[in-house]
């Protein structure tokens, strides 16, 4: 395969991140610009790739026209939530040693093995939860921007789960790093704010099932 053809294929692969409808309209045009910018035939650099992914995410999470501000704000809060969850994951990985030594100080030396076991299990489950969490935040934001009513209730349920998680963390023998507790609180507040915004009067009206659909159901009954 020739160099320009290979470059074009790489760019097309990156553009797959964009929503299909947007791609149908704009792919050829953006591709032409990308190829013109890479006149020396160099492969896409990290900055170009990151910029395309950012653009694609914005397009996917872009609320439809005439979306109430409350819903727009909730979508934005959920994106911030995903970023905060990522921060929590990084902090947790960085602080595992200090968490373990803090836990070990609270128990006699003969319990060290058990403490190590408990901390490791909790840390691993937390990491898995956080990794899934990042995906959930983004998925909920995407579904809300797509005007899915069910997503509102999923956000409320997600907030409920977060409350349970906070309560359990408070009772756990493993004391989390202070920075992590702070990020956890921020995440909880974001979920709370998004849940409140999604059940305001303006949001309720936006997500109310369209009257057209109700009519179809009524027609079927006859």
């Amino acid at each position: 395969m020739s160099k320009p053809a290979r470059l074009e294929r790489e760019y097309r692969r990156l553009l797959v991140c964009y929503p299909r409808t947007y791609r149908r309209e704009n792919e050829e045009e953006i591709l032409a610009v990308l190829l013109a910018c890479a006149q020396d035939g160099q492969r896409p650099g990290l900055a170009v790739v990151a910029d395309l992914i950012k653009g694609a995410m914005r397009m996917r999470l872009r609320p439809a026209a005439r979306t109430p501000r409350t819903v727009q704000a909730a979508v934005w809060l959920l994106c911030v939530g995903a970023a905060a969850q990522l921060a929590a994951l990084v902090i947790n990985v960085a602080t595992i040693d200090s968490v373990e030594s803090a836990a070990a100080r609270r128990y006699p030396p003969w319990a060290a093995a058990a403490v190590h076991h408990v901390v490791t299990v909790r840390m691993v489950t937390n990491r898995v939860e956080e990794a899934i969490g990042i995906g959930v935040w983004l998925l909920l934001a995407w579904a809300l921007a797509r005007r899915r009513n069910l997503a509102r209730f999923a956000v409320a349920a997600w907030f409920g789960l977060d409350c349970v998680d906070m309560f359990q963390a408070g009772r756990s023998a493993v004391v989390e790093a202070p920075l992590n507790v702070a990020v956890g609180t921020v995440i909880w507040l974001l979920a709370l704010a998004a849940s409140v915004l999604l059940f305001t009067w303006a949001s309720n009206r936006y997500y109310r099932p369209k009257p057209g659909r109700a009519l179809v159901v009524a027609d079927l009954r006859h």
Partner: protein, 107 residues
């Protein structure tokens, strides 16, 4: 108005331009300081189109590649003129206040 948005509108003020033309023009206007990447450019173009500040002027095929030309709408011209006047007033105020010091420095 963000600087990138302002520069894109400025690039379109003299006439319609295609995507790569806008990137090159923005780099020139900003003295090479702002180099737009394709993802950022199309994010901005999409938003400006939705806000009615720019519109598609025409399409051309050059070297078997699609070129879409964009132009300012009357609303876009108005917004750019307002923003330019605002920036001009701010810059003039700053220069007025700096002048005594600069004059003192020279003397």
């Amino acid at each position: 108005m963000q600087e990138a948005t302002y520069l894109i509108l400025t690039a379109l003020a003299a006439g319609s331009q295609h995507g790569y033309g806008i990137i090159a023009d923005v780099a020139e206007i900003s003295g090479g300081r702002v180099r737009l990447l394709a993802g950022t450019l199309y994010m901005a173009l999409d938003r400006l189109r939705a806000d009615g500040l720019i519109a598609v002027d025409r399409e051309e095929i050059v070297d078997s590649r699609l070129r879409r030309y964009y132009r300012l709408t009357p609303e876009g011209q108005k917004r750019l003129a307002e923003e330019a006047a605002r920036l001009h007033a701010n810059a003039a105020a700053a220069l007025r206040r700096l002048k005594p010091d600069l004059a003192g420095g020279v003397a």
